[in-house]
Symmetry: C2
Subunit: 236 residues, 2 copies
Amino acid sequence: MNLVLFSQTDLIDADLIEIRGRRFSHLSSVNRICKGQTLICGRLNGKIGTGTIESVSNKYCHIKVVLDQAPPKPLPLILVMALPRPKVFRRILQAITTLGVKQIHFTNSWRVEKSFWKSPVLAAEQIKEQMILGLEQSRDTQLPTVIFHRFFNDLVHTRLPDISQNTLRMVAHPKSKKVCPACVNQTTTLVIGPEGGFIDREIESLEKIGFSSYHIGSRILKVETVVTFLIGRLFS
Amino acid sequence: MNLVLFSQTDLIDADLIEIRGRRFSHLSSVNRICKGQTLICGRLNGKIGTGTIESVSNKYCHIKVVLDQAPPKPLPLILVMALPRPKVFRRILQAITTLGVKQIHFTNSWRVEKSFWKSPVLAAEQIKEQMILGLEQSRDTQLPTVIFHRFFNDLVHTRLPDISQNTLRMVAHPKSKKVCPACVNQTTTLVIGPEGGFIDREIESLEKIGFSSYHIGSRILKVETVVTFLIGRLFS
């Protein structure tokens, strides 16, 4: 655990937290905490700082925290993805949280299987769990916002023009003739299709509202690879 | 399956292949092949081209192939990684194959658990299986080379100077003071540590033979995320 992330409910005094359950087990078995040790701590959606272990029992520990630093800057990226299959969804959610994405939209599209929308991994609690793991990994405290769009056309025609306003509008598309730029370093709305890609009509809809499509060479990457690859390429 | 990858043993005539087993099941159930349909085909370590389905039975299909294109260019990257945990090893191997890495070294390091070296995922057949899946995904035919180094010091002192000769020498290290460059677009040897990072002494050994260490900001990424992220950042 690179950061002990806590929330209001863990506070037992103004600057004292009590950590139990999964986080305590991890701190015991992996970080091997002992009294007096210092750790990096952060408050959910708040600041980051140092925690000193005050006491350790066999079920919990008490940590005195001093939070004096801002969390890392968010990535200037609004990510819009076709809903991936459940197993991949969990991994992607955690990975993009570690990368600093703070606004994530999942949408239906022609090649998204209907069954994906019924998966329990889409429950708010499960989503939060993956994002918390991502924040702990990357030493961040700002929980991303996740929004689902059950209808692609509705998203593109009524919501996406506003969502992507004043941003660079990009869609990753293997059949595009333009090669994806690098180091754009400006606020970007990036749309990524499902396994098998968007169909032509979907790309046309996106182009009509100002999105440009780009390829990244002849290799076809998995969705979970392409997200991380493009974040590495676009921002530096 | 984005590419039907075949080898010598699948050939039943000069330009005719017979596909059975896993690949046939996938072509049947996912690609839903039928007589006359064309697919992208490639010969392992050879060229790429078009295949036309000549016949389909319930156990195999025959495909007539015309191979007239070179496979995608390899990524100019020699990747050296601390051996990851077995589950992650499989995923990384497949992902970096899709990204076009052709020379991969796995090494021991202080924070690599000894048990990782005994995992069955390190068997040659299992490695080849993951790489084949990666090639099929990315429409490539060139099998990467994977080399294991059981001793970090031995690798660094006797092998790595030659392996990395005439390349840009980089090591990813969160504690470094230099920010990782983007778009280097030259042949690079990139070293990536284990979960938890290299210890200082290991970084010093690498620096002594000409490697420079770089960070990518304050976020700590998982090994499988950082590999893809850095490939996106370094090459365009």
